[in-house]
């Protein structure tokens, strides 16, 4: 990137009078990006500001006013009054198993599709990739009926059905994300040199060993990137949770917030605080694992 910047300016500098052009360009770019960033932060910053102000103060002076004092009380109130811990726990119970199961199934599938000559491997990959691109609403009608038909033992689903159970949400998240992960992992696995597999074969490694001991460790960067993406996507899911669950108390936190919005309709400060709390996990993922997250998105699009 630096090399390119240098080359961009050198010929211009030699052209004499146009030397200033890139500097103006730089200035304009800076100004544009700074104003864009202000616009991009404004909604979040304002919601955060509302969440930090006492209800009584915003009642008296309006939401857009100078602060007299700031408080964290809305956060503690939102936490205690709305049972957020419970919804968070639901989110964890849905997200963690889903991510693990998707990655396990997708890596196994991608391995077979790239390393074993199943005649229909390209066709299968196409089927899985296409499945991930369908809008959710295309499959929801029969899915809803299927979820009502499948009975589960009560230790897996309190409702006794796949419908309205955390297991059901895990199942659909796994099914839906499988395509994307298989696509990304199979692209990644294709880049592993054949010689490594030849060597493993000479050492007498069976197919399972070649998968478990050779492929999975080599795919660790891709798996980490995908895990970050999946965690965010599944945690942020809204559609499956509101269509495949009937009772609010089993819902994950992002969709439970929709109910809270109705419950606290008169106290917007509390809603703002609850929204901020619900955003914390993804923001933590973002701050700690931004590189992985972006790497995951890039992996999905880097196929040449």
């Amino acid at each position: 990137m630096t090399a390119q910047t240098i080359h961009r300016t050198t010929p211009r500098a030699s052209a004499g009078g146009r030397r200033k052009a890139p500097r103006w360009g730089q200035l304009a770019s800076q100004a544009f990006l700074i104003s864009a960033c202000v616009l991009w932060l404004l909604p979040i910053a304002f919601a955060l500001y509302v969440s930090l102000r006492p209800y009584s103060e915003t009642q008296k002076y309006g939401y857009v006013s100078m602060p007299h004092h700031l408080t964290l009380k809305n956060f503690s109130d939102a936490w205690t009054q709305s049972d957020m811990l419970h919804y968070f726990w639901n989110s964890v119970l849905i997200t963690v198993p889903s991510v693990i199961i998707v990655l396990a199934l997708a890596s196994g599938l991608a391995f077979v599709l790239t390393r074993v000559n199943v005649k229909i491997n390209v066709a299968l990959l196409i089927v899985f990739t296409a499945g991930n691109l369908l809008p959710q609403q295309v499959i929801i009608t029969p899915l809803y009926r299927i979820f009502l038909q499948i009975h589960l033992p009560t230790f897996l689903a309190g409702s006794g059905l796949l419908y309205n159970s955390i297991t059901g949400l895990i199942v659909i998240n796994v099914a839906f994300q499988l395509g994307f992960c298989t696509f990304v992992l199979s692209n990644y696995m294709k880049s592993i040199p054949d010689e490594m597999y030849e060597a493993a074969l000479v050492d007498g490694a069976g197919l399972w060993t070649r998968f478990r001991k050779l492929t999975v460790p080599l795919c660790r960067p891709a798996l980490a990137a995908l895990a970050t993406l999946l965690t965010t996507w599944i945690y942020n899911d809204f559609f499956w949770a509101i269509t495949l669950m009937s009772s609010g108390d089993k819902r994950p936190v992002t969709s439970a917030l929709a109910n809270l919005q109705g419950q606290f309709v008169s106290n917007q400060n509390l809603i703002a605080a609850a929204a901020m709390i619900a955003a914390i996990p993804t923001l933590v993922v973002y701050v700690l694992l931004q590189k992985q997250f972006i790497a995951g998105l890039a992996l999905g699009s880097s196929k040449g």
């Binding site: 990006l33 990959l125 296409a130 942020n236 619900a278």
Partner: protein
């Protein structure tokens, strides 16, 4: 597919070694293949492709979700309670296109959504990426800030923007002085305005997403290409459109697909805003409200789902064709 090329003995005979290769699998290997292949295929068929076919099938029936389906043809002029679960032909489609008042507005809203994503969010994201990729001061910080909304759930985006748009306490109305009962602008309630207000929220998120995809693409562009172009005397604008943009073809395909799919999938934002009514109708909302609502019209909702399926198959097939075309060619052709 890849192994035989390393084996000098089999070059020139690409068919035969395939079979031999599979034949070399031991019994245990075959069991591994069966499990690793079987389980995901089962899940995908039962929960994705089964329901997709189911939607198509149900779209030709008239069914309220109670009682069974039959192969009888629906009888005209019979009360709908006696006419349940019967074959309805293309009547659902016909009704959707002719007498269902929300259908055409929803199609129009989906198209507007797509147009805003294509002509506004995507170029904006691309512009962000190009500026950031030039390595100006603070580029990492800009990137982080512009990408922030992508991490948030769309439901949360809707809640957060409520504080910007609210009639009485919203930031926008207060700043422009339109927050009094007489002159307040109802950004999210007025059916002439609310689609555009929600599209601002959607663009706010989508531009960051597009930016990251393009950043990945720009990093992959060989710097020598640009150097050569600059040496040839092209300016930055020409270099981008004539050299960099064409090289990013794979990313352009992905961005195109993401844009179309995301605008067809749009649901969360309008649902959290007003459950997708009064100016915010979308096809996705209509499907959902017909099957999970109180009066279930499963057949009719499915027909709307099939419309959505047919539209989304266009970008899906394009993507698959462009992506997998070279898979079926011999490897050396790459």
């Amino acid at each position: 597919m890849t192994d035989h090329e390393l084996d000098p003995a089999t070059v020139g005979a690409p068919r035969a070694p395939r079979r031999r290769r599979l034949g070399r699998l031991s019994g245990r290997d075959k069991a591994v293949v069966a499990v690793l292949l079987g389980l995901p295929i089962l899940i995908d068929l039962v929960f994705i492709w089964g329901p997709t076919l189911g939607t198509i099938g149900l779209s030709f029936t008239k069914w309220n979700g109670v009682g069974g389906l039959s192969t009888k043809t629906c009888q005209p002029n019979v009360p709908s309670i006696l006419n349940n679960g019967c074959l309805y032909g293309v009547q659902n489609y016909h009704q959707a296109a002719t007498i269902y008042p929300e259908f055409w507005p929803a199609v129009r809203h989906n198209l507007i959504w797509l147009a805003v994503f294509v002509f506004f969010a995507t170029p904006l994201g691309m512009l962000f990426a190009v500026l950031i990729d030039r390595g100006i001061k603070g580029s990492r910080m800009y990137q982080s800030i512009l990408f922030l909304p992508v991490m948030l759930s769309l439901a949360l985006v809707g809640i957060i923007w409520e504080f910007m748009y609210s009639q009485n306490y919203g930031l926008i109305n207060t700043v422009i002085g339109h927050n009094h009962n007489g002159n307040a602008i109802d950004w999210l309630g007025n059916p002439k305005l609310n689609l555009w207000s929600v599209l601002v929220e959607a663009t706010w998120r989508q531009a960051g997403y597009v930016m990251v995809l393009y950043l990945a693409g720009l990093k992959a562009v060989d710097p020598q290409l640009r150097e050569a172009a600059v040496m040839d005397g092209t300016n930055a604008w020409q270099t981008f459109w004539k050299v960099v943009f064409p090289v990013m073809r794979p990313i352009n395909i992905v961005v195109m697909v993401v844009t179309v799919i995301e605008s067809l999938r749009a649901f969360d934002l309008v649902y959290i805003t007003n459950k997708g009514i009064n100016g915010l109708e979308l096809l996705s909302v209509l499907v959902t409200s017909n099957i999970v609502g109180e009066t279930q019209r499963v057949g009719f909702g499915s027909a709307l789902g099939v419309v959505l399926l047919v539209i989304s198959l266009v970008p899906i097939c394009t993507f698959l064709y462009l992506t997998f075309r070279r898979e079926s060619q011999p490897k050396g052709a790459r």
